[in-house]
Subunit: 106 residues, 4 copies
């Protein structure tokens, strides 16, 4: 299981708004089983088996071309931890726990 | 107002867990006025006046050094839109609206 | 043909030097036909057919695990332009040409 | 001394070609003393004192707005190593050395 953030950016579209492209990309994830995902203001974070997630990410990258774009920049960040199970929820909880009980960090 | 995602990664720490470093970085944001921020499983997203946010990001980058790290990789993504006011909440809402009413994208 | 930058970062290795991991990743590219690549101080840039490049990138991501790492962060940026052929060499040349003959930009 | 990669991406320009914007950003670096930089097919890599480099990066981010863009996405990656002096040239040389004498990695 890996956690992957993806941001798909169509270029040269002539419109500063990109939300309809992002919605198209999310449509791909909504149809997929075996993954969790969350939309953030800067991209989409997906949790699942790495090979499946990377396959979905490549489908998301194709989406703006299908919607008319001629150039797409896609940024992918993989966080893959294999010494223990890592989840989107667990990662955030682990940080928040240390904020509530200060002293752990400094 | 810009929206900025930052991920601070200490290297060579000998420990695969980084949550205490992340908590230290968030401590800097909690003390700051005039910004909004949210923790995600892949980083921290900050909304505010660009110069102030970049100043905070540079303080966050220093945090792992203060906590003992010798090498830090920091990834920053700025989304800066000046033709209309853009907010973290507004960006997500704009995509979700298009998901509820399909047709805009495909 | 797409141009893809990849940076593979093993975490928690206990050593701030990562060059041996990078060399291992490059070994994968040196054995591959049909692609061009160049090493930069911040990653590796690969030019080739997108599906093949993404397959190689995923092999590169596995390399530090094979070499003993327990957590790997990999950053991938795809620049995919389909209205004209784009190459690593052509992109740099296009910018340099505009530097020599100023006026094009402003 | 830190090594910083920056990619400045104007959005909604109506033109898939971005090289004139990139040339404008490089003009800022060409006038600056105390830094080294190199253009790659995926961005610009700058070596220098971190505070100075981040100041230049923020000037580069402003450049497309001055040239007419209404939205700019800028990606910045800082590699900051403080246990030994790290240079752009030294990082690449360190990897290449391990490629010539295999055995170090695997």
């Amino acid at each position: 299981m890996a956690i992957v953030e993806v941001t798909v950016i169509p270029l040269g579209t002539g419109n500063t708004s990109l939300s309809s492209f992002v919605a198209g990309c999310l449509g791909i994830l909504e149809k997929s089983k075996g993954i969790q995902f969350q939309l953030t203001p800067m991209g989409t974070i997906i949790e699942g088996e790495l090979e499946q997630v990377m396959n979905l990410v490549q489908q998301m990258h194709e989406q703006p071309f299908a919607a008319g774009a001629d150039r797409v920049n896609t940024i992918i960040r993989i966080d893959d931890r294999r010494d223990k199970k890592s989840t989107m929820e667990g990662k955030v909880a682990s940080v928040e726990e240390k904020l509530i009980k200060p002293g752990g960090t400094d």
